[in-house]
């Protein structure tokens, strides 16, 4: 009885879809127009698993472009690789009133390689953008894509981009009753309707309607945290002729270890001997590992090469040993092999990388398509150490802001295991500066400025570390907002210990730093570290405030000024303390010494959307204070 109702329901939906052929732009509900450059009128995505090596996507979409900014939303891009077949591509272009003005087929599409940053990447894209010059217009298209695998299914995210409203979007998954899936619904108002169709196949369906366009809000969380989506993962699957099954991370990890990673770590005899040789006098296993890691860094470099089982399998360690290059997978696998030669156990870890957000693998939902990078974990007793193997310069044990503070999948002998990478707190990410300057009667500034960088800030000077002095001077002149900055000497040191620190010492002078005008002396109180960004105010903010990573800036500058001056204005003093951060400025004039102290701290975390205006005001106060002009007048 229940399945009958569902079938009825399906029929109703499909007739509805047929009936809704009128793409007149004026029929779009008015409340979907604000902040929208385009509106998805109707989208139907169906994934049908016909066999373990045969999945068919049916995509049907009609989108109305309201103005020029929405043109890109009408760009049809079909990603594929050599295992996919694209079929039955066709589309129609309608004008503002829903009248057909053009149609197109696959012959209009251009097929391009998308892996331009890679030495090799099998992924390609067929794409086409119809040229329509009068707005609004609608394009309605459909296609079928056949994929020879069942490991990964594209998630359904009906509204993932800014500026697109959705009138209606539906997602259907069809498979044989024996094909078990797990699925995860996020931020979805309705639950799946599960049933079966006339052929006796199992069906899952979801539908959303009238989603408003998302507008850009600074300090927003990762889009998947608030956009509606459905993810699907198989239990039994086939991938590039490899079969497998999993129901959790542990089993998925085990499958990766067994099928993709097994027997890929053999090294030439000489390399094994060399590793033993360079580590023979080191007893501490962590220092041993550091030595091996540095050997690997000096010998290899990163090049993206997506070959091997759909890009999931690393090159052989012996290959990396000979070629001296590899992608993240190959370099981690190679480092593991080197460590093994010194009897050090390590884990290959699968992670979603990115600086803007700390994106974790979802602990409640295991699937293969959540990550994009590989790092190394060395589980010393009570001291789990992490390393990224794609850099020639970073210290052992340092992850930086690319893979910090998130859940990753470690391949252990017991199968896959979710582990957390270390977090860098606001107290650990420090840029701290001390400067001793003299301002002479002509307004020239001179003196020495020393800055230390710790935590994720450690890397702040990496771009100039290997450059020649002349180039370093030019780069520093761009980094610091001190006009007419002439560098007399510059020294940058990196301490690559387990708590790495970069120290920069600059001896400089800058003519005309202070201006003499009308008998008064003017100069900017904050010489080196002025904030000039204020996040824009947002009306009716929707999202919570997300500060991905906190940090601290501490500046202390002592100016020696010409004799016989006093402050014209009241000395600047700022003291702001908020949940998300704090800012203090102190300024004191004692004799000919003007002392300036500034501390700025932003604290990582998620805050209620109501504090957003506070954050804007906070930044505005910082910007104002950083533009503070010291005015000195002669004491009579």
């Amino acid at each position: 009885m229940r399945s009958f109702i569902i079938i009825c329901c399906f029929i109703a939906i499909s007739t509805l879809a047929k009936a809704q052929q009128n793409y007149d732009a004026s029929l779009i509900p008015k409340d979907l127009l604000p902040y929208a450059s385009s509106v998805v009128r109707n989208e139907e995505i169906t994934i049908e698993v016909k066999a373990l090596d045969n999945t068919v996507y049916h995509v049907k979409k009609a989108i109305t472009v309201l103005n020029k900014n929405g043109d890109d939303d009408a760009h049809i891009v079909i990603y594929h690789d050599k295992n996919d077949v694209i079929k039955n591509v066709k589309g129609v272009v309608y004008n503002e009133f829903g009248k057909q003005i053009d149609k197109f087929s696959e012959s209009k599409f251009d097929d391009v390689s998308v892996g331009s940053g890679s030495l090799f990447d099998s992924e390609r894209a067929e794409h086409y953008l119809p040229a329509v010059t009068s707005y609004p217009y609608t394009i309605a298209y459909e296609y079928e894509e056949k994929s020879k695998q069942t490991l990964n299914f594209d998630p359904w995210v009906p509204n993932s981009d800014l500026g697109i409203a959705v009138e209606k979007s539906s997602f259907n998954f069809i498979c044989s009753p024996g094909f078990n899936i797990k699925y995860k619904e996020s931020n979805l108002p309705v639950k799946a309707i599960i049933g079966s169709n006339a052929q006796g196949l199992k069906t899952y369906s979801w539908q959303v309607s009238n989603l408003k366009a998302i507008k850009y809000e600074p300090f927003s969380p990762y889009v998947r945290n608030y956009a509606s989506s459905v993810q699907i993962a198989p239990e039994k699957f086939e991938y590039y002729a490899l079969k497998g099954s999993y129901t959790n991370w542990n089993e998925l990890g085990k499958w990766i270890s067994d099928k993709l990673m097994a027997n890929r770590q053999e090294l030439p005899f000489q390399t094994v001997e060399h590793v033993k040789e360079i580590t023979k006098d080191i007893t501490d296993p962590k220092l041993k590992a550091k030595k091996i890691y540095e050997y690997m860094q000096a010998k290899t470099h990163y090049i993206s090469v997506q070959v091997g089982i759909g890009g999931y399998q690393p090159f052989l360690a012996a290959d990396v040993d000979q070629q001296s290059y590899g992608d993240c997978k190959a370099l981690v696998n190679y480092t593991q092999a080197l460590l093994k030669a010194a009897n050090i156990e390590s884990y290959y870890c699968i992670v979603k990388s990115g600086r803007s957000f700390n994106i974790s693998l979802q602990s409640d939902f295991a699937s293969m398509n959540q990550a994009d990078h590989i790092i190394l974990c060395v589980p010393f007793k009570n001291d789990t150490t992490w390393a990224d193997c794609t850099s020639q310069t970073i210290p052992f044990g340092y992850l930086g802001d690319f893979t910090d503070n998130r859940t990753v999948l470690a391949l252990t002998p017991e199968g896959g295991k979710l582990l957390r990478t270390p977090k860098y707190t606001a107290q650990e990410n420090i840029e701290s500066r001390k400067a001793d300057f003299i301002i002479n009667a002509a307004g020239e500034l001179s003196g020495t400025m020393t800055t230390t960088f710790k935590g994720t800030d450690y890397e702040d000077r990496d771009d100039l570390i290997k450059e020649p002095k002349s180039e370093q001077y030019k780069m520093e002149q761009k980094k610091y907002p001190i006009n007419n900055m002439d560098i007399e000497s510059l020294d940058i040191k990196q301490d690559k210990s387990f708590d790495p620190v970069t120290t920069e010492t600059i001896k400089l002078n800058a003519r005309d730093y202070a201006t003499l005008d009308n008998g008064k002396f003017y100069f900017l109180l904050n010489p080196a570290n002025r904030e000039n960004y204020v996040p824009k105010q947002v009306r009716n903010r929707q999202n919570n405030v997300n500060i991905t990573r906190g940090y601290t800036e501490a500046d202390e500058v002592t100016y020696t000024i010409p004799d016989g001056y006093r402050l014209e204005k009241k000395a600047l003093e700022v003291n702001i303390n908020k949940s998300f951060g704090n800012f203090t400025v102190k300024m004191m004039l004692k004799g000919d010494k003007l002392i300036y102290k500034r501390k700025f701290q932003l604290i990582g975390g998620t805050y209620d959307k109501d504090v957003y205006q506070d954050l804007v005001d906070f930044y505005q106060s910082v910007v104002d204070a950083d533009e503070y002009n010291v005015v000195l007048v002669k004491i009579n």
Binding site: Y35, A36, L66, N67, K68, N69, D102, D110, D111, S113, G115, S116, L119, F120, A131, V132, T133, S134, H274, A298, K299, H301, I303, V305, Q322, Q323, S324, Y325, Q392, K466, E467, P468, S470, E471, K474, Q477, K478, P481, N483, N484, M485, D512, T515, D517, N518, Y522, F523, L524, R530, V534, K536, Q537, R539, E568, K569, D617, Y619, Q620, E627, N629
Partner: protein, 661 residues
């Protein structure tokens, strides 16, 4: 019996000579391996030790004539910052719709490095690690990474490309982002072909030798001699790009070839490609993808008649057609001077390349009885034109020019926001070549009197609550208006633009706004805002208030940082920014220290900055203006320009004081 012997000797001589040119593959020296840095440029992360290229035209198989290019290089890599030199891409082209790309063969590569024990090792590139990638319809790429890279290694690789495109005789780039010890290019050109060679950049050739190579080319019994020319350059410095630079191509040392004429070895018929401007004119006129498009008046007649119906003067007609064209076409992002789809198809699909759109615009204007011509140019990115020789390959863009009375209007219909008579910024590059079907072509200056001008007026009253209340008016003229329109149109509506603008000014509240002439492209854009600005928190406690009279867009940081500069500073066009601040004070306050009147200028009429103060009745007006009169400043003028900014920054530090009476 005498003759063959002579030839025999001669051949030996030649082959001996040519093999002496290229350096041997597969060997390195201890000296190369031990180099710690490059003495002539110790800052280099890598240096090209030797580089050799060779182009020739030869019969490959089945009477097939191909252009054969061989490349061979050896590079010393000092540190990992230059490891990208070990990843190589060889792009190959195909201009037809089938899959017949230029072909690449004989790729070989080797790396010499010192192993863990300090011995020099050699590792070769494996064939299976060379990846051919079809990028799109027209381009494919052969990609490979040399194995075994590490600090101090030497890499060497070579390859060969065979091409059927005789017009695209390989250019040679002497200069790169790393220095080169020696670079040489050898070309063998049979007498059947005739190319013009032109050298770009400031550097001098250290070798420029040409000789005759006898009977080097033979096809079906007819043979010809070749010119063998060798171009060599030694001690080539690395090219370093600066900010505000037009196009590195203008300064990079390179040698380019332009096909002038050829005699087909198959049928003996001589075909002129280019030689003098009149030949280029003839070619453009007869080429279906250019002149052919300008002749398609019949196709456009019916379309034009209703557009100009009822319009009598030429300017109105021209504007109507131009605006219609802007609306009708969507530019498909293809540039170039040759029509891609043809006017007919472009009109049908509303989509076309620069040439499709602008050549048809010229034709349309002509159909309407106007005097319009096509202007070929090279965009800023593409580099400056060679005005010594006629080189058609230098042009990559075409626009329309319409002459009405004694006025000249330049038109580009690919951008719907450009006003009538304004070219996009990318086209403002020195000179263009004016072409019409019935007159000889000639050069014209493209640095037209295009300017950008903005004018801000803030008229506010200081309220008792510490807020400034009043109006902000902004007029944007010339290219600035275009930029303003583009910025506003990035939003779905004017309301969303204003909301965003207000969002960015957290001290400001925009109470009312009005934007005029957003769609009247020929007019300045004017923005009027009623505003309230939070300035002073506690008015009653202060006897003194400080105020920066440079309230809008105060310059704090000098954009010019270098101590010296080797290339001209290109600002694109002349500009003027004008600000007028009018402030009305509450009656209990008076101005204690008014700002000074300032005037600063760049020598030789390069620009001017001035500020002036005008006291009023319990109010004042303060005006400051910055003008840059040139679009390009020479490297010698750089210090003046930098000092100009420095002086402006100094003067803008001044603050005023308002005192309670």
């Amino acid at each position: 019996m005498k003759k063959p012997l002579l030839i025999f000797f001669f051949l030996i001589f030649i082959s001996g000579l040519s093999s002496a040119q290229d350096f041997p593959y597969g060997a390195t020296s201890t000296q190369e391996m031990n180099m710690k840095n490059y003495a002539k440029d110790t800052s280099a992360h890598a240096v090209v030790l030797q580089e050799f290229g060779k182009s020739r035209i030869a019969v490959v198989s089945d009477d097939n004539i191909k252009l054969i290019y061989e490349y061979h290089v050896k590079i010393k890599i000092f540190d990992s910052k230059a490891f990208d030199k070990g990843t190589i891409q060889i792009p190959v082209y195909n201009n037809s719709d089938n899959d017949s790309y230029e072909s690449v063969s004989d790729i070989a590569g080797v790396t010499y490095y010192k192993d863990d024990n300090g011995f020099t090792q050699k590792v070769e590139l494996e064939d299976k690690k060379i990846y051919p990638v079809k990028e799109n319809k027209h381009w494919a790429n052969y990609k490979f990474a040399l194995p075994g890279l590490r600090n101090g290694c030497v890499i060497e690789y070579k390859y060969k490309i065979e091409s059927p495109y005789f017009e695209n005789f390989h250019s040679w780039h002497f200069q790169d982002d790393i220095p080169k010890v020696y670079s040489e290019y050898e070309v063998h050109i049979p007498a059947f072909w005739n190319y013009n060679a032109s050298l770009k950049g400031f550097l001098k050739l250290s070798k420029n030798k040409s000789e005759l190579e006898s009977k080097c080319f033979e096809l079906r019994g007819s043979s010809s001699d070749c010119s063998l020319i060798s171009y060599g350059m030694a001690d080539i410095p690395a090219f370093i790009e600066d900010e505000y630079m037009t196009s590195p191509k203008n300064f990079l040392s390179a040698i380019n070839f332009e096909l002038v004429e050829y005699t087909s070895p198959y049928d003996g018929v001589k075909r002129r490609v280019t030689k003098e401007w009149k030949d280029i004119d003839y070619r453009l006129k007869t080429e279906p993808e250019f002149g052919g498009q300008l002749k398609r008046k019949g196709l456009l007649k019916d379309k034009i008649t209703p557009i100009i119906a009822g319009k009598n003067d030429e300017l109105t007609k021209a504007k109507a057609i131009y605006q219609y064209w802007q609306k009708w076409f969507k530019w498909n992002l293809y540039t170039g001077i040759w029509s891609v789809d043809g006017v007919g198809k472009a009109l049908d699909t509303h989509s076309g390349s620069v040439a499709d759109i602008n050549l048809s615009l010229v034709t349309a204007l002509n159909v309407a009885g106007l005097n319009a011509e096509a202007v070929l140019l090279s965009t800023r990115e593409n580099g400056a034109l060679n005005t010594l020789y006629p080189v058609i390959g230098d042009f990559n863009y075409v626009v329309a020019k319409v002459n009405i009375g004694d006025q000249v209007y330049m038109l580009d219909a690919t951008d719907p926001l450009l006003p009538f008579g304004m070219l996009p910024f990318k086209c403002l590059n020195d000179k263009g070549r004016v072409f019409s079907l019935d007159k000889p072509s000639y050069f014209m200056d493209l640095s037209l009197p295009q300017r950008e001008k903005s004018n801000y007026m803030l008229d506010v009253t200081l309220q008792d609550d510490g807020k400034l209340k009043g109006t902000l008016t902004n007029y944007s003229t010339g290219y600035e208006a275009y930029k303003r329109r583009s910025a506003i149109k990035k939003f779905n509506s004017v309301d969303e633009y204003v909301e965003n603008l207000n969002g960015k000014l957290s001290r400001w509240k925009i109470l009312k706004s009005e934007i005029r002439n957003l769609d009247s492209l020929d007019m300045p854009v004017s923005e009027l805002y009623e505003v309230e600005i939070d300035v002073y928190k506690k008015m009653e406690e202060n006897n003194k208030l400080t105020f920066s009279p440079y309230y809008l867009n105060k310059i704090i940081t000098n954009p010019l940082k270098l101590n010296e500069r080797s290339y001209p500073v290109d600002m694109g066009m002349a500009s003027e920014d004008r600000y007028v601040i009018t402030l009305h004070l509450p009656t209990q306050y008076t101005v204690e220290t008014p700002p000074q009147t300032t005037s600063i200028s760049i020598p030789n009429g390069g620009g001017r900055y001035m500020a002036s103060y005008e006291p009023g009745d319990n109010s004042f007006s303060f005006l400051y203006v910055t003008q840059f009169s040139k679009s390009v400043y020479s490297a010698e003028e750089y210090p003046y320009l930098k000092e100009f900014f420095n002086k402006i920054i100094q003067s803008q530090k001044t603050e005023m004081v308002f005192r309670k009476k």
